[in-house]
Structure formats: structure tokens, C-alpha cells
């Protein structure tokens, strides 16, 4: 089973895992990105995810296909939720099944890292004080110079 999607409904981990491994698989790994309640010393009450539909679906499918080729499995499910999320909500789910555990960990790690570099999704953090801010998006607006590095870690989602 090979499935990637941008979704707006809550992600249900049990549904993702059901039927994912084939009989040749000895490992089935689930990674969840979860909204946490703090970032850089501020209390976070939630996240708003914005997406470039079309490009995001294509990019997510391409990343999963790359992982499939590199690590030799087509038992991959990758979901990214968009819209308004609260603390504790699952934003990202990556499930991989492989014959042995090594490839499952490597494929899962590959997918999350590539997703963070390339997937056209943005998040705005909502804070306890009532204000909000785009993560990674504000500081580069006035900067002239080389292309911004979209890989920087940031924000209270994974």
C-alpha cells in the first residue's frame, strides 16, 4: 500500500497501520509529528497550517516515491494535516513497513527530513497572549542575498 495525502481531518494512527505490512515485512514503523505547547520560550496554543495545494500533493508523492526506490519498499503512508490544529494534535504521520528494521528507520527519517526541506506548507503559531507569527517566514523578508534556507528547524510542530 502506497499512499500520500494532504488532509484536513484528524489523523488516526491506527487506521494508517492497519493492513500496511505485507507478509514479507518484519518491521512496521510509525512516526507522528505532534503540536507542542511551547517554542522559543513562548506558550503556544495552536498552529494554523497553510498549504500550496497541487504542488504539495505532488511533492509529498515524489518524496515518498524516492524513499520507496531508495529503501526498497512500497508499503509507505505519509499524511500531512493542514488547517487549524491544537496542542497535542497530530500534524504529520509517516508509516513504513520493510522486511528488516534498518530500512524502516532510514526511510522514515528520509521522508521527514525531505518533507521539511521541500513541502510547500507553512505554519503560523498562535500564542497565549493572543498574537501569532509565521514560523521561519518573517525574518527573511527584508534580507537581500542568497536563497533562504528552507531547512531551518523551527516551530512547535515537528
Amino acid at each position: 500500500m502506497f499512499r500520500t495525502a494532504i488532509v484536513s481531518e484528524p489523523i488516526l494512527p491506527a487506521e494508517i497501520l492497519t493492513g500496511l505490512p505485507s507478509f514479507e515485512d518484519g518491521a512496521c514503523l510509525l512516526f507522528l509529528g505532534v503540536v507542542r505547547d511551547h517554542n522559543q520560550g513562548r506558550v503556544v496554543t495552536g498552529l494554523d497550517y497553510e498549504v500550496y495545494h497541487g504542488m504539495a500533493e505532488k511533492t509529498l508523492a515524489a518524496i515518498a516515491a524516492e524513499a520507496s526506490h531508495r529503501f526498497g519498499t512500497d508499503r509507505i503512508t505519509v499524511l500531512h494535516r493542514v488547517g487549524e490544529l491544537g496542542v497535542g494534535d497530530v500534524s504529520t504521520a509517516i508509516a513504513v513497513a520493510t522486511p528488516h528494521r534498518g530500512e524502516a528507520y532510514e526511510a522514515s527519517r528520509y521522508i521527514i527530513e525531505e518533507l521539511k526541506h521541500r513541502l510547500p506548507i507553512w505554519k503560523r503559531e498562535r500564542y497565549l497572549e493572543g498574537d501569532s507569527d509565521w514560523i521561519g517566514g518573517g525574518a527573511t523578508l527584508d534580507v537581500e542575498g542568497p536563497k533562504t534556507d528552507a531547512s531551518q528547524e523551527g516551530g512547535s510542530g515537528e
Binding site: K116, H117, P120, W134, G137, K147, G157
Partner: protein, 81 residues
């Protein structure tokens, strides 16, 4: 030729719009389009000189030649996950 420009997240907030159409001379590249927008001044002048862009839903280099009907998306630093 006519190009559609899309602005997401912080860029949309900066410009107050998520999409504009702009006429450009044939032979304009991505960087030429960026220069045209920045030359408008005001909020447009605050766009970065070398933004990450996608042309027709694929990341594109600044010297990419634009064609009539292309959709150019301005991609602020992404923050998925």
C-alpha cells in the same frame, strides 16, 4: 505575455493579496519578474531579491525563462512537519 503570481503565508500577509496577474514582455526570466515586482516599491519592495519560487508547481531557478500562462508561486521558508 501574462503571468499569474501566487503569494503564500508571510508573503500574502505582506502584500495583502494571494494572487495577482501581471503582463510581462516576452523573454522575461524569474529574476526579471522579481525585479519588476520589487520595483513597484511599497510592500512589493520588501519581497526578497532572491526568493524561492515555483513555476507551474515545481521549484525553479532564477534564470528560468517564463512563458505565457505560467504560474509563479513565491515560496516563503517552508515549515511542514
Amino acid at each position: 505575455m501574462k503571468i499569474r503570481a501566487l503569494f503564500f503565508a508571510s508573503y500574502r500577509d505582506l502584500l495583502g493579496t494571494g494572487e495577482i496577474a501581471l503582463p510581462l514582455p516576452e523573454g522575461t526570466t524569474v529574476s526579471g519578474m522579481v525585479a519588476e515586482l520589487r520595483g513597484r516599491g511599497g510592500a512589493f519592495g520588501k519581497l526578497p531579491a532572491y526568493p524561492v519560487v515555483a513555476v507551474n508547481e515545481e521549484y525553479a531557478a532564477e534564470d528560468r525563462l517564463l512563458r505565457d500562462g505560467d504560474v509563479v508561486a513565491f515560496i516563503p521558508p517552508v515549515a511542514g512537519g
